[in-house]
């Protein structure tokens, strides 16, 4: 029996401007000695292939070109010399402005299936901020230095902020601030396109008819708009009362009212924050480099300790490819072939008459979209057999009352095997997945992959969408 096994993981980031793909190897090792219950951990992560930064293909400004994206993915798989069947896990994420395009949701799920058996589809600014912060190393810095570290990921269409406190994400925010919200002509440097967000800033500031102005006035106008963008981000970072413009730019904001000690910039624009002495401001035909410059003048850059991240433009794709997968505990109960399962909402029980009740909170999730829910078991103070047996009895009574198939139970404490066996004893051989080592809260969605080659552990992805858990 080998003590190690390797997962091939893919990360695909379809952004406002660019699309990136990475393939990496995750080594899973049993870190316990032979006479102990195995504990599988991801012991090393190594990058095997990183694609070039490709432009995201669009049919028009509102529709992503699905065929084009498929084309990119197959080309990159081919260049990497790997087929979709060889991909064990990973995540595909549509980020920034792209996530708001009409066909984003449908597209990302279709692409996930196309990209491999257990590739997770994700979209939305909340996840994007967390994933970027993991990829840039902000999460790791907060854990290593035991501090609050903010990650500010500036892409083409959005700026995603996530705060990490000692390795845990404590909040995030997203603003429509990005390097490609204004496009300029490569030669004449005249404004070619202004996205809605930059138009609203222009209208609020005294440069509303910027398009018709002369060249110099246009330059000034751009600088004013960019300065306002950074000012808005600063307001959010410093937890200040948002101005009218900031409110318009904010997509979501649930940052806690605390200030970070350290700050990491990532995303395509961050390159121009770290890299000084730019020569050609218009190299991309957009205002990305100028936005970087504006950030450097901003308050956040000059107040917090700015730390160069491990990745800049690749932060999100690395986060998606390398940092999304967790491994469950190895003492789990899994009956029959009911895996993988995707996008299952975790139900944290309500307390009714002194007992846990999963039934009523489940009702909100069981609709035409979700046929499966996971019972989340809160952390227990008492782990003696009697207490666990009583808990199992309650679960076993409620499980058959929801139409979910398979029956999924997740918990953090290492008791999945005993609870699973207790349920099998009571309900017989039903389709059951009972796993531990997973921290999940109400509002989280989870994906569970097939059991790893030699261990009982399972790859699990927790998609956290809500912060400030009590």
């Amino acid at each position: 029996m080998s003590r190690e096994s390797i997962l091939t993981s893919v990360g695909i980031d379809i952004g406002t401007t660019t699309t990136k793909l990475v393939i990496s190897y995750l080594t899973l090792t049993n870190v316990m000695p032979g006479s102990r219950i195995p504990r599988i951990e991801i012991s090393s992560k190594s990058l095997f292939y990183a694609s070039e930064v490709r432009f995201t293909p669009f049919l028009d400004r509102e529709t992503i070109d699905e065929k084009g994206v498929r084309q990119i993915i197959s080309e990159e798989y081919q260049k990497a010399g790997i087929s979709p069947e060889k991909i064990d896990t990973g995540a595909i994420i549509i980020t920034g402005e792209s996530a708001k395009k009409e066909n984003a949701e449908k597209l990302v799920h279709a692409l996930a299936e196309f990209s491999g058996d257990f590739v997770v589809a994700t979209a939305g600014p909340e996840l994007e901020s967390i994933i970027a912060g993991k990829g840039s190393g902000a999460e790791e810095i907060s854990r290593r230095d035991r501090c609050i570290c903010a990650n500010v990921d500036i892409g083409g269409g959005t700026t995603n902020i996530a705060y990490y406190d000692n390795g845990t994400c404590i909040g995030n925010a997203c603003l429509e601030v990005g390097g490609r919200l204004i496009e300029v002509d490569l030669l004449s440097h005249k404004i070619k396109y202004m996205a809605k967000a930059s138009r609203s800033i222009a209208e609020a500031l005294p440069c509303s008819n910027i398009n018709s102005e002369s060249h110099e006035t246009q330059q000034k106008g751009i600088e004013t708009i960019l300065a306002q963008m950074v000012k808005s981000v600063d307001e959010v970072l410093f937890s200040e009362n948002p101005s009218e413009i900031t409110r318009v730019l904010t997509v979501n904001n649930d940052l806690p009212g605390v200030l970070p000690q350290k700050l990491v910039f990532s995303g395509g624009v961050s390159r121009y924050i770290y890299q000084k002495n730019m020569r050609d401001w218009w190299v991309h035909g957009d205002v990305g480099p100028l936005l970087g410059e504006a950030y450097r003048m901003g308050r956040a850059y000059n107040t917090f300790e700015v730390i160069p991240g491990a990745e800049t433009i690749h932060a999100t794709v690395m986060g998606a490819g390398i940092h999304t997968v967790n491994v469950s505990g190895s003492t789990v109960t899994v009956q029959k072939d009911c895996l993988p399962v995707r996008n299952i909402p975790v139900i944290i029980p309500e307390i009714r008459n002194g007992h846990y009740d999963w039934i009523s909170p489940s009702q909100r999730f069981l609709d035409s979209l979700h046929t499966c829910v996971a019972f989340g078991i809160p952390v227990q103070d008492q782990l003696d057999f009697q207490s666990i047996d009583e808990l199992t009895e309650i679960i076993a009574k409620q499980l058959p009352q929801i139409p979910s198939s398979p029956k999924v139970i997740v918990m953090e404490q290492d008791v999945a095997k005993v609870i699973g066996q207790g349920i099998v004893k009571r309900l017989g051989n039903i389709d059951l997945v009972c796993i531990d080592g997973i921290r999940a809260f109400t509002g989280d969605y989870i994906d569970i992959g097939k059991a790893l080659a030699y261990a009982e552990a399972l790859p699990v992805v927790v998609k956290t969408l809500i912060f400030n858990h009590k």
């Binding site: 003492t331 047996d389 004893k425």
Partner: protein, 319 residues
Amino acid sequence: MSMEDNIKLIVEQVLKEIAVTEASGKGTSAGTSTGGSVSSAWTSAVAGTAASSPWNSGVGASVYDDADAEDLSTVDLQTQLLVPDPKNKELYLDMKKSTSARIGVWRAGPRPMTQTLLRFRADHAVAQDSVMGEIAEEDAAKYNMVYVKSQCRDKDEYLTRPELGRVLDEDSIRKLEKECEKKPQVQILVADGLSSKAMEANIPDLYPAMLQGLQSMGIRVGTPIMAKYARVGLMDSIGEVIKPDVCVNLIGERPGLGTAESMSAYIVYNPRADVIESERTVLSNIHKGGTPAVEAGAHIAALIKKILDAKASGVNLER
């Protein structure tokens, strides 16, 4: 009479005398009364013997009334930081939480602090108590287990003659033949081994969890057995009598300074007199700070299923 027994007698005599002096002269401290009752040359020799030999620790405890003294071994070492004014206390405590090693204990010059040293000795005493603890027939009755014994007559013989701890005595063999179901799929044996405390601490949670697991997989369990003065190999001797497919021995591990409550489960397919050690599958470190008893029970049940299916245990199972 051997030299050792001779000393034992003398020490017992002296301790009795101390007890008498203690009772009559209330208010005098233990130290002075010891010094007063026996000649000073003897005191040091006797004190040394009494402290280091386990068979006297019980007697000593009844003599010195230390009911008011703080029980050092109850302090949670992993949350106790003795470093004065640490630069980053939270990080230090985090590190302590991740290990049971004695870090962050500070020092007095090049030596450990009194508190640290006393704690060390207190933990050593707990370990010794655990080895010397005895299980009784009532313990077996609590779980409806058949109570048996190895060929050892007492604890001393158990500690000095390991080979006797691996074989059942005649009475026990007869008892098993009379009271136990023969040829079950699984024979459960609970043994004191080197820590009776391990049994007390883990069996109440581990045993029912394991039974539930076996039951959920439809495995037939024989009459459970509890054994005194037992070594791991006693399961082989029991295998000869019961002839189960698999025998599992839940046995107290040799206690250390970290915990005295650690238990192991040894599992053997086709247990018999000539089992070789590589045929044993083992799950170790079952205690609060290691593998929790409840989950260990569930895991052992799954291991037994795997062994029954493979018809092999130990190294043979991994092939």
